[in-house]
Symmetry: C2
C-alpha cells in the first residue's frame, strides 16, 4: 500500500492528504436542512449530512489528491449511525481509488490491539468466514504502550501489505509535555522514532517502509531531525494551514528524492468556503472552494520543495 | 459518578470490575451456533453471539459487582454490527445499575478529543437537540498527546459528573519501553501520574476525584509508589488473574480507607468455564462459572486487604 501511495503522489504531483473531519458546523446549511428533513435532528440525520458533505468534497477533489484521512472521532460521536457514515466514506474513497488513512489513534495490548488491527486493516474471522471490516489502507497508532501494543498492527500490515503512521511528535501546543521529556539524553519522541524505524525495517517495500510516523507541521526543527532518524519511513504531517504550518516550513520533512512525507489539511480544505480567500465561491459551491484550496496547497508545497532544491 | 462507584463498591463489598472483552473463542459453542443459525457467520451473527454471551454473564454477576468494563476493540472489530452490540451491552449494564467503564483508550487533540468525550461521556449536539450517544460512566484515555488531549475529556467529566481512568503504567511486558524512561530523574509514568493528580484536582467529589489512573497489577512496586503520587485518584488495575496479578500484590494500590482502587479481570471471569478450577460447571453453565470466579476474586482481594491491616 505504501507503493500505491507513492505511485499516486507522483501521478497527481501532490504529496497531500485531505482530512475528512466533518464537524457539523463546517457543513453548509442546505445539506444539513435536507438531511434533517429526511431523518430529523437525530444521529441518523447528522450521519447523512456528514456523508453527503464528504461525498461532494470527494467528487470535487479526488483527481487532485493521492489520499484522504477520515478522523473517526467525528463519526464515532454520533454512535452507530456515525460509524455507518465512516464506513460509507471509506468505501466511497476506495471506489475513487484513493488511499484511505484511518485516523483512529488506537493502541492497546496483545489481543486487543490485534482486534483493532484486524477490524481496521486486516480480516476478522467469524466461524469459517473472513471479513475485511472497515478496510482502511493505513491507520494511525498511539505508541504509549510499547512494542506489545504496536506489534499486532505491524503483523497485520506485513500480512496485508497495509501501513501505519505511529504518533511520534504531535502538532498540538502541549505535545511536548511528555513527548519532549529528555530521557537518556534525548527527547522521548526521538526514542519513539527509533522504534518506528526498527518496527519499519521488518516491513519494507522497495525504498520505503509500510510503517510511517506522525510528526506535526508546527515543529519544523523537530521534523528535520526526525527525518534523519527514520530515513525509510513516510511522515504524515498534520498541522498545515489552520494549525499554522506553511509549505516553506515542511521541506525538511521530505527526503532528497522528493518523497517521504505527506501533508494533511482538514479544516483548511473541507471548510475552505468559510475563509476570506474562498468566500466568493459561496456556501452552495463549498466543494469547489475545497478544490481550489487543494490546488493552492499543492502549489504552496511543491513551490517550497522546488525553491529548496 | 465516582461517588456512585464508591457507594456500589461498599454495597457489594467487592472492589472489582468485570472486563467484558468477548473474544469469539471465549463464547460457548451453543451460543455461537444459535446466533450463526439466525444471522449467518456474519458480523451480525458475531455481534448477536457477543451480546447473548454478555447478557447471560451480566445476569449472573450483576448483584456481586459494582462495575463492568467493556473493551470496545472486541466489538469494533465487527464494524457497525459490533458497535451496536457494544451499545446494547452498555445500555443493559445501566439497566442493571452497574457503573460502566468504557475501555476505549482514546486520545487526540482539541476538537477531536472533544468529539470523543461528547460521544462517550457527554452530549452530542445535533441541530436543536442533544443526545447522550454511547453514554458510558467512565472511559480510559491515553495521555501521550498531553493536556490538550486530556482537557476536553476533563471538561466533559466536570459538566456531566462522569470520570476518566488515564493510562499511567500499563500491565503489559513492554510497557516500560517508553513509560519507564527516566526524565528529570524520574520515570515518565510518575510525571504522567502527577499530571493525573493535577487534572483530577479540578474535579473533586467528597474524598476522591473523578479523574483516575490505570496502573497494571503486574507492577506492584510501581503501584505502591504511584498510590502516593495520586492520593485522591482511583486506580483501575488491569492484569489480575490471567495476566499474573494476585490479590496479595495489590494491597498497596488501595488507600488506608480501603478504597482508591478497583481491580479488573476479563478472561479470568468471562471465560472461567475454560479453567481447570471451574470446568465442572460445563460449557452450558458458563455464566455460573463466571459467578463463582467473581466470588473467588472478591474473596482473594478482600482477604489480602484484611491480612494487610
Amino acid at each position: 500500500m505504501i507503493q500505491k501511495l507513492i505511485t499516486k503522489i507522483k501521478q497527481v504531483n501532490a504529496p497531500i492528504v485531505v482530512g475528512l473531519d466533518p464537524m457539523l458546523n463546517y457543513i453548509p446549511q442546505h445539506i444539513k436542512e435536507k438531511a434533517f428533513a429526511e431523518f430529523g435532528e437525530t444521529p441518523a440525520g447528522a450521519a447523512e449530512a456528514v456523508w453527503q458533505f464528504n461525498k461532494e468534497i470527494i467528487d470535487n477533489v479526488y483527481d487532485l489528491i493521492p489520499a484522504v484521512k477520515p478522523q473517526i472521532a467525528m463519526y464515532e460521536q454520533f454512535g452507530v449511525e456515525g460509524i455507518k457514515a465512516f464506513q460509507k466514506t471509506v468505501d466511497y474513497c476506495h471506489e475513487k481509488d484513493l488511499v484511505v488513512i484511518g485516523d483512529i489513534k488506537r493502541g492497546d495490548i496483545g489481543s486487543t490491539s490485534a482486534a483493532y488491527a484486524a477490524g481496521h486493516l486486516g480480516k476478522t474471522v467469524i466461524g469459517s468466514k473472513c471479513y475485511s471490516t472497515f478496510n482502511e489502507d493505513f491507520v494511525t497508532v498511539n505508541p504509549y504502550l510499547g512494542t506489545d501494543g504496536v506489534k499486532p498492527f505491524v503483523d497485520v500490515c506485513r500480512e496485508e501489505k497495509k501501513g501505519l503512521f505511529i504518533l511520534v511528535k504531535t502538532s498540538n501546543p502541549s505535545s511536548g509535555e511528555f513527548q519532549d521529556r529528555i530521557a537518556d539524553g534525548r527527547p522521548l519522541y526521538e526514542l519513539v522514532a527509533e522504534k518506528v524505524a526498527e518496527w519499519g525495517s521488518e516491513c519494507m517495500s522497495d525504498t520505503y517502509s509500510y510503517i510511517g510516523a506522525v510528526v506535526g507541521a508546527t515543529y519544523p526543527e523537530i521534523g528535520k531531525s526526525l527525518r534523519k532518524v527514520m530515513p525509510k519511513s513516510f511522515i504524515l504531517v498534520p498541522g498545515y494551514g489552520a494549525q499554522g504550518g506553511k509549505g516553506a516550513d515542511l521541506v525538511h520533512y521530505f527526503n532528497e528524492d522528493g518523497l517521504g512525507a505527506i501533508v494533511n489539511s482538514s479544516r483548511g480544505i473541507i471548510a475552505a468556503y468559510k475563509q476570506e480567500k474562498y468566500v466568493s465561491f459561496g456556501e452552495i459551491n463549498f466543494a469547489e472552494a475545497s478544490r481550489a484550496a487543494v490546488a493552492d496547497m499543492a502549489a504552496d508545497i511543491n513551490g517550497a520543495l522546488e525553491n529548496a532544491k
